[in-house]
Every structure is written in structure tokens, then in C-alpha cells.
């Protein structure tokens, strides 16, 4: 575990060494370092059960020389690309529900647009400090949240009106029926989560899954799959703000997308052989360090 933390820290601090080299560092060294770090983050993210974006934005935003505008833009599209690729399989298996996503993504995408616009209107040090606080909160959330397979729940009238129920087969070939409760609260929660996602360029699976599972009563597997589908729609709306504002720099966004996606594929293969509890602890430690760094940088304590 210590070796992995040292590797992540080394890769995160490599940009400082490159920056010290001044103009001698070739332009391609940065995208290459970004690709390598993104690859490692992709591996860790899958094993720890969090999205790559939540690690990417605070680490790259704190330790690389790129302006936060481009890091947020890259974080948003890497979450978008990853969830778009996974969604068809999840939909076919019934582990993601389009019917469940529609009302949640509608609220999320409108608020995500507002969040992306707010991100460009606010001073960068305010956004950086707020990002630090959010990432520290995510570290706590990942530490304390345990998913639960709630099945026998009483559906609410709003959920019945929207037809939010269904079924899927679990790994034991048992048919799991689901329905939702507290649907209006869930829609409101997705609005808030969408705003945060658009503001900081995060995928927000760390918040979607507890909202679906603990608040709305969706089974954990359905919550994970449906969260991905929701991100693929919600981030599509905020992405246009970043494109329109010129905040998607291909030299940053494309290596990050490829790195996280390839890393995620390797992570998925390694999933069964890795000590997920230990990796989860590493991710919590990395989130805490990156969150503290972003907060201190935003406050001007550690520029």
C-alpha cells in the first residue's frame, strides 16, 4: 500500500519537477505525465468503486500547471466518455434503468448547466477552495458509506406516476424487483449533485449511488449502473458550456480520457485479485491529500 501511495505521490509531484526544468521540458512531457497518472487513477478508481473524475480533478488541478478551467473540462468529458461506453451493457442487463434516469437526469442536467456557468463566473481561488472542501467531504463519504440491498420498500405516489419500478437478475440468477421511495427528494438531490458535478467537472457517482440506494431505495447494483447512465446524460449538458467557453483543450482532455479508460479496463480485470479494502483506503488517503492541497492552494497557503 505504501508503494502505491508513493507512486501516486511521485506522479503527482512530477509536474513540479518538470516545471522546475522551465522551458527545457518539452510540451509532450505534460500530456505523457497526464496520461500515466490518469491510467493509474483509472486502475485505482475501478477497484475502489469510485469514478475516475473525482480523483482526476483535484490531483491534476492541484499538482499540474494547467489552469483549473481545462482540468474541470477534462474531468467532465472523461466521466462522460467512460459512462457512455459502459451504458449499453448496463441497459441491456437491466442493471441501469432508463425510466429511472429520465426524471433524475432532467433535474441534474439543468442544474449541471447552472453549475458549469457558475464555475466560469466565480474567481478561480474560490472554485479551487470549494473543490478542496467537496473532495474532503467525498473522502469522508467514501469512508462512512456502506451500500445496502433494500428491496422490500413501500413505493411513493410520485414514483408510481413515473413508472419507476422494474426487475433484474442478480449474480445468483434470482430475480430482484425494485421500486422507488422518496422520489421527489431523489430528483431534488440529483439537482444538487448535478450542480456540483457541472461546477467542478466531476462525474459525481460518489453522490449518485448513495442518493439512489440509501435515499430512494434502489438496490445497490441498480444504483451503481443507473448512476453511470445518469452521468452520461447530465455531463452531456455541462460539456457544451466547456466547449463553448473554449475550456476543452485536446492536449489535456484526450490523454486524460484515454488514460482513465485504459486504466479502468485494467482495473476491471484486476478487480477480483486485488485487496479492495486496501485500495479503498489508498483512494481515501489520496482524496484527503488532494482535497487538502486544493483547499490550501485556493486559500493561497500553498500556491
Amino acid at each position: 500500500m505504501i508503494r502505491v501511495i508513493l507512486l501516486v505521490a511521485g506522479l503527482a509531484l512530477a509536474p513540479s519537477a518538470l516545471a522546475a526544468g522551465g522551458d527545457a521540458a518539452a510540451w509532450w512531457a505534460w500530456p505523457l505525465a497526464l496520461f500515466t497518472l490518469s491510467f493509474l487513477l483509472g486502475v485505482l478508481a475501478v477497484i475502489a468503486g469510485v469514478g475516475g473524475g473525482v480523483l482526476f480533478v483535484p490531483i491534476v488541478g492541484s499538482f499540474f500547471p494547467f489552469h483549473l478551467d481545462f482540468v474541470r473540462g477534462a474531468g467532465l468529458v472523461l466521466a462522460l466518455a467512460g459512462t457512455l461506453a459502459a451504458a449499453p451493457t448496463l441497459l441491456r442487463s437491466g442493471l441501469a434503468s432508463l425510466r429511472l434516469v429520465l426524471p433524475l437526469a432532467l433535474a441534474g442536467s439543468i442544474c449541471s448547466l447552472a453549475g458549469a456557468l457558475a464555475g466560469f463566473a466565480l474567481p478561480v481561488n474560490v472554485v479551487q477552495s470549494a473543490l478542496g472542501l467537496v473532495i474532503l467531504a467525498v473522502a469522508v463519504l467514501v469512508l462512512i458509506t456502506r451500500g445496502t440491498d433494500v428491496v422490500a420498500i413501500e413505493p411513493d405516489a410520485f414514483g408510481r406516476l413515473l413508472g419507476l419500478n422494474g426487475e433484474f437478475n442478480d449474480h445468483l440468477q434470482q430475480r430482484v424487483q425494485w421500486r422507488t421511495r422518496r422520489t421527489a427528494l431523489g430528483v431534488a438531490a440529483f439537482g444538487g449533485i448535478g450542480f456540483i458535478g457541472g461546477l467542478f467537472g466531476l462525474g459525481a457517482g460518489w453522490a449518485n449511488v448513495p442518493a439512489l440506494n440509501l435515499l430512494m431505495g434502489a438496490p445497490l447494483k441498480l444504483a451503481v449502473g443507473t448512476s453511470g447512465l445518469a452521468i452520461s446524460i447530465i455531463n452531456s449538458s455541462a460539456a457544451w458550456v466547456y466547449i463553448g467557453r473554449g475550456a476543452l483543450l485536446p492536449a489535456i482532455a484526450m490523454p486524460a480520457i484515454l488514460g482513465v479508460m485504459l486504466g479502468s479496463r485494467l482495473g476491471a480485470h484486476l478487480l477480483h485479485g486485488m485487496p479492495s479494502v486496501a485500495v479503498r483506503r489508498i483512494v481515501i488517503a489520496v482524496l484527503a491529500i488532494a482535497g487538502a492541497r486544493a483547499l490550501l492552494r485556493g486559500l493561497g497557503v500553498w500556491p
Binding site: 510540451w27 481545462f70 441491456r92 437478475n169 452531456s236 457544451w240 466547449i243
Partner: protein, 137 residues
């Protein structure tokens, strides 16, 4: 094992369209990146200038590099970097196209509420894509 969705289910239609679209856009994205980084298609912003530009806020970079904002990048598709922006824009369009496709599928199944929600979502994504809101670009 997994329970297959019915062929006529709008969810299945959405999955089919999204899978096809994602494959096409991924292939386009990889090709665009290869053309850009290999220098086969010259970028608008020279690669060697990037380290001095990516430290700036996006608005300043656009000014310094005389780069386009909003949808004006469509006129710059002959440049490698904007070919990649096109790939990212294509990713952002996929959900809109798939949702537009399933509106009719929901109506055919008699699911009017779902059709309405899908139509509203298409309108939101369309407004976002067209920049039809204050401060879009």
C-alpha cells in the same frame, strides 16, 4: 447472468443506438488524436506554445491564441486540435440523439409520461448545445 431486455423495449432501443454511436465516435476520437499528435494535420495552436497557454484561464487563452468560442470551431475543422474538439462534441451529442430516438418508442408503448420526460430532456440538451442560455460562450 443477466436478464435480456425485450427487443421492443425503449431501453433496448436506447442501448442499441448508444452502442453504435459510441463505437463510431471512439474510432473518430482515436483517429483525430493520432492525426493531431503526429502532426499529420497541423493544429491551430502550435503544440510547442501550449505550455505557455494552458496556465491561462480559458477566456484568456482564446484571446491570446485567436481561437474560436461557441460554435465557431466548426470553421476550424481543418486543424488537428479542432478535429479533436469535434470528437468531444460528438460524445456530447450522443445522449441527445438516443433520447430523441426513444420518444417515439415510449409513445408506441403507451408510456406518455416517459415520452414527455425524454422530450423535455432533449430540449434541455438542445438548448445547452445551441448555447441558448445566458453566458453560454
Amino acid at each position: 447472468m443477466i436478464a435480456p431486455a425485450s427487443e421492443r423495449d425503449p431501453q433496448h432501443t436506447y442501448a442499441r443506438w448508444l452502442e453504435l454511436g459510441t463505437r463510431i465516435v471512439f474510432a473518430f476520437g482515436v483517429l483525430a488524436l493520432a492525426l493531431y499528435l503526429s502532426g499529420l494535420v497541423a493544429p491551430l495552436i502550435p503544440l510547442r506554445d501550449l505550455p505557455s497557454l494552458w496556465t491561462l484561464p480559458a477566456a484568456e487563452l482564446l484571446r491570446e491564441a485567436h481561437a474560436p468560442s461557441g460554435w465557431a470551431w466548426l470553421r476550424y475543422l481543418r486543424y488537428g486540435d479542432y478535429l479533436n474538439v469535434a470528437a468531444i462534441a460528438a460524445f456530447s451529442l450522443l445522449s441527445l440523439v438516443c433520447l430523441a430516438r426513444v420518444i417515439r418508442a415510449f409513445l408506441r408503448c403507451g408510456e406518455r409520461v416517459q415520452a414527455l420526460l425524454a422530450a423535455l430532456q432533449v430540449l434541455v440538451l438542445l438548448a445547452a448545445a445551441l448555447g441558448a442560455f445566458p453566458g453560454a460562450s
